[in-house]
């Protein structure tokens, strides 16, 4: 799996090269900054992935597949309401934050249940 980072590194480098080519065309700063940031982010992601995969053993653990997550839906409803609240008033932001907090709590609960199930030795 270590090769997986190659795509991100190659793509980021190619974008970086194309961004650098602009130097010959008297560019504005913004022309450099936007694709430059994207290129740097891609290369960084590639390096992180490469480092993460470098010491990874083949994963032989059982993986639990969660079938549904109401908490995730709740969190997203909260996020959406809080964002829309930026245009419609603090009251909506607070409602959104409240619902989001409920969702976040639910996700923590789901993760704990998942950890318990794994400790309990889920069948393969």
């Amino acid at each position: 799996m270590r090769r997986a980072a190659i795509w991100l590194l190659a793509w980021g480098a190619w974008l970086g090269l194309l961004t650098g080519l602009q130097a010959a065309f008297a560019p504005k700063v913004i022309q450099f900054v936007i694709p430059g940031v994207a290129s740097a982010a891609c290369i960084t992601s590639g390096l992180v992935l490469w480092a993460a995969d470098r010491n990874r053993d083949p994963d032989e653990r059982s993986r639990l597949i969660t079938d549904s997550s109401v908490a995730t839906v709740t969190l997203m409803v909260g996020v959406a309401l809080a964002l829309v609240g930026a245009g419609f008033g603090l009251w909506l932001i607070l409602i959104g934050v409240g619902i989001g907090a409920l969702g976040l709590g639910g996700i923590v609960r789901e993760q704990r249940a998942r950890a318990r199930a794994l400790r309990g030795g889920g069948t393969r």
Binding site: L15, C42, A80
Partner: protein, 545 residues
């Protein structure tokens, strides 16, 4: 790696909150189809207005119509569907039991739904929906020129939808890069999966620019002093188009992948030039992140020569991909199924969109054609006559896998021919209208211009498109009610998704075949054929001996 499913909860909850990538993608496609119908209805209203040369809706209402039509089709239909198909099929094609980050994928789905509702709820506000085009031009979209909640809802809606798409892109990319089955190396991933890798890379690293642009736009509307003067408008457009051009390829690459799979399957041939295709995809997707300012040629403030160069250079990887398609078809045992016809339609019609794109990549020509109907025709040839044909090809190809039943071929072919006639009748006259000087986004044009005939032709075409969509809907309903079971692999396809049941089980595969190339099922068939040929020759030798 093995996978175990946690016992599921109640039925309706399961659909709304399911973390199964297949359910999420299926729900997203259904919702996108609803938005497609709604966006199509807006288009029909616009076409009625132009055929009648005014009188159907007011200029303000027309502004809302084209803004919400464009926004719906780009943000809520083609991009989400392109990603949703990847969400469904990438894990299956790489032999994964599950998508990477199933909760994140579910979060992306809900951001999409809530964002879409947010955008459309602008129609319920007193000032109406957003009316500053799907680009949300600044200063047209500022609080002076677009007051009211409709524009704010549009901004928030697009931000939510885009955030959801970035999450989906991350999940798909992580699945392709990190969840592949043993034996599924990078250079054994199917063509469609590769196109999704390119698509999702662009999504993850290009789309945040739109969220930033919209955040700045919102701040400008409510706080001021953020996007001020001409420089502010240029900055907004630079950020927007850094999203806005790559998104064209996000709406293109997945359908190229679908067409590649369809052509290889129905030509009964291995995909020609696989490695060259992957390299072309890398070059293509990188280049497509550096062509964005060709939308700003007429500004005259960015480096037009550089962006003309990169925009024209796109023909090289595009040419390689077309060559691969044609070489795959060449001397193949062709089966003219509906899916294959749509794939051929994609190749021919996208070519028209692509070639007219070369014209627009030239600054001197673009100065004359910018903001005219020529651009509208070019854009719709790429997105509708191109990508939508690829999408319908993909639907006819993968519907049996998703539902377990076959779509009716006769109705499918009627759907195809109506769509060919409708698309060309609608969009081809627009090239002439644009060349004659008809500008886009106007509700009325001078009676003396002589443009009404071509506009009526275009409107008739849009009605034919609506008819073809109706035939498709009828086909789906009939096929789901009077079921003709598809089996696991009704087409004799090449890739892993056809190695599992139709529809696939919760964790996708009971067992995987050996993976020794990007076409493992074709490998198996060829090995079986070689084996039976050897048996026949041994038997023949025994008889002769």
């Amino acid at each position: 790696m093995s996978a175990v499913a946690i016992p599921s909860r109640a039925g309706s909850l399961r659909t709304l909150a399911s973390t199964d990538h297949k359910r999420i993608a299926g729900s997203a496609c259904v919702i996108a189809f609803v938005f497609f119908l709604a966006g199509g209805l807006l288009a029909l209203l616009m076409r009625s207005q132009l055929a009648a040369d005014g009188g159907v809706v007011s200029q303000n209402a027309y502004n809302e119509l084209f803004t919400m039509h464009g926004s719906t089709m780009v943000y809520l239909v083609i991009v989400p569907v392109a990603l949703a198909v990847g969400l469904y099929f990438v894990p299956l094609q790489v032999g994964a039991a599950e998508i990477a980050g199933p909760r994140v994928a579910l979060a992306g789905f809900w951001l999409y739904v809530l964002g879409g509702v947010c955008m459309w709820s602008g129609f319920l506000t007193s000032g109406g929906a957003a009316s500053a085009s799907w680009w949300g031009f600044d200063p047209l979209s500022d609080s002076v020129h677009s007051p009211g909640g409709g524009m704010d809802l549009w901004i928030f809606g697009v931000m939510l939808v885009t955030l959801g798409q970035i999450l989906w892109g991350g999940c798909i990319l992580a699945t392709a890069l990190r969840r592949r089955a043993p034996g599924m190396t990078l250079m054994r991933m199917p063509v469609f999966t590769w196109t999704m890798v390119a698509t999702c890379t662009m999504t993850v690293f290009g789309f945040p620019a739109l969220i930033l642009a919209l955040g700045l736009l919102w701040a400008q509307r409510h706080l001021g002093g953020v996007l001020t003067g001409g420089a502010g408008a240029v900055d907004y457009q630079a950020l927007f188009w850094f999203y806005g051009h790559p998104v064209v390829y996000v709406m293109f690459f997945p359908f190229v992948g679908m067409v590649g799979e369809i052509i290889a399957t129905f030509s009964a041939r291995r995909f020609f030039g696989y490695s060259a295709f992957i390299v072309a995809l890398l070059i293509f997707s990188g280049l497509s992140m550096t062509v964005w300012a060709h939308h700003m040629f007429t500004f005259g403030v960015l480096s037009n020569k550089y962006f003309a160069l990169t925009s024209t250079a796109l023909v090289v990887p595009a040419g390689i991909e077309y060559f691969d398609f044609l070489a795959t078809i060449w001397r193949g045992s062709l089966r003219f199924t509906t899916a294959f016809l749509f794939a051929l339609g994609f190749l021919v019609q996208f070519l028209i969109g692509g070639l007219t794109g070369i014209i627009l990549a030239s600054p001197p020509l673009d100065y004359g054609l910018n903001m005219s109907y020529f651009v509208v025709a070019h854009f719709h040839y790429t997105i509708f006559a191109g990508s939508a044909f690829g999408l319908f090809g993909g639907i006819y190809y993968w519907f049996p896998k998703i539902t377990g039943v076959m779509l009716r071929e006769r109705l499918g072919k009627l759907n195809f021919w109506l769509m060919v006639i409708g698309a060309n009748l609608t969009f081809f006259p627009m090239f002439f209208l644009g060349a004659e000087g008809m500008v886009r986004r106007v509700a009325r044009y001078p009676a003396s211009s002589g443009w009404q005939g071509l506009n009526i032709l275009s409107t008739v075409g849009s009605v034919v498109i609506a008819l073809s969509v109706l035939v498709f809907a009828v086909n789906v309903v009939i096929s789901l009610r009077r079921r003709r079971p598809a089996g696991d692999d009704p087409w004799g396809a090449h890739t892993l998704e056809w190695a599992t049941s139709s529809p696939p089980p919760r964790h996708n595969f009971v067992a995987l075949p050996p993976i020794r190339s990007y076409a493992p099922l074709l490998d198996l068939r060829e090995a079986a054929e070689r084996h039976s040929a050897t048996e026949v020759s041994v038997t023949a030798a025994g008889v002769l001996g």
